[in-house]
């Protein structure tokens, strides 16, 4: 039962990563301005490149979750390595929230005249909030773990 649930959670983690990656590759192609551009200029847009760079902590965090699930499966949760994985998740989440805030500020300041970026900003606020919640939860878990070691 335990092994099955670990495999399930690992599969979900991988699925989240694949969906995020697919969305990130697909999304620039669907934007209005992409119609008149060749593939290279679509992806070499500075903001889109920033988006790819900013996704790195997300994928690192996901990988650490995967590793953590592996430790749980091997009965090694109460080990320094899983505390380390949680710490990395915490730092990734903090970095992610900062990167999203920077992106939101950029959109706020440089969006086209007459364009209303309220939706994008709202999404950025929610995403920032979620990242902070993850960081806090990871730090709480880390502290509980540390106490047990």
């Amino acid at each position: 039962m335990r092994r099955g649930s670990i495999i399930f959670l690992k599969a979900v983690t991988v699925l989240i990563g694949i969906v995020a990656l697919a969305a990130m590759i697909r999304f620039p192609l669907t934007e209005g301005r992409a119609v008149n551009l060749d593939l290279f200029s679509i992806y070499s847009d500075p903001f889109i490149l920033y988006g790819y760079a900013a996704s790195i902590p997300f994928f690192i965090g996901l990988y650490q979750v995967f590793k953590l699930l592996g430790y749980i499966g091997e009965n090694k949760v109460f080990s320094p390595s899983s505390a380390r994985a949680l710490r990395i998740i915490k730092y990734c989440a903090i970095t992610q929230s900062v990167l999203i805030v920077i992106a939101a500020l950029y959109i706020m300041m440089f969006h086209a005249k007459g364009d209303d970026p309220a939706g994008a900003i709202a999404m950025a606020i929610v995403a920032t909030f979620i990242s902070i919640v993850i960081a806090t939860a990871a730090s709480v878990f880390e502290r509980i773990l540390q106490k047990q070691l």
């Binding site: 039962m1 649930s5 399930f8 959670l9 806090t136 730090s139 709480v140 502290r143 509980i144 047990q148």
Partner: protein, 160 residues
């Protein structure tokens, strides 16, 4: 510092609860009566949507309350106790119940998606239905871990 982080997580639980409460009060009745206005042939979905909407809210709020209790245990340094294992067990059951209810409600969503010609709606519904299941499995794993830790602890106390 520790108090602050659990306090923040507790506040997050309150925000989530408030959002869902607002959704229940404002959005669910609006959706249930709006479907009949938008697509008269789907008017018979009014009460199923209402019932399904409120029914799924019940396990959600129970799970939220248990998560709140769990954070209190962490605050009091009693995370490794039978009480928190129990809270996790309730969260597990609530997650399973929510997932079952969502999957049971999928036929409603199918008809709306069909009428609206929006197949993406079904995909979103599936994602929403799977999310509580993921939470349930995670809670089950945590429950097992905690139980093991408690068992080992009591064993040690017995031998010493």
């Amino acid at each position: 510092m520790k108090q602050a982080s659990t306090l923040f997580l507790k506040a997050t639980l309150f925000v989530m609860g408030g959002l869902v409460l607002a959704f229940c009060i404002f959005a669910v009745p609006a959706i249930s009566s709006g479907v009949g206005v938008e697509w008269p042939e789907l008017a018979y979905l009014k009460y199923p949507i209402l019932i399904a909407g409120y029914l799924t809210a019940i396990p959600f709020f129970i799970a939220l309350y248990q998560a709140f209790k769990l954070l209190s245990y962490i605050d009091k340094n009693t995370a490794f106790s039978v009480a928190s294992v129990k809270a996790l067990k309730y969260i597990k059951y609530c997650g399973i119940a929510m997932s079952i209810l969502y999957f049971a409600g999928m036929p409603i969503l199918f008809q709306i998606a069909d009428a609206d010609d929006a197949p993406g709606l079904v995909l979103i519904g599936l994602a929403l239905a799977t999310a509580p299941l993921v939470v349930a499995v995670f809670a089950a794993v945590l429950q097992k871990l905690l139980q093991n830790a408690i068992d080992i602890k009591s064993e040690n106390e017995l031998t010493v």
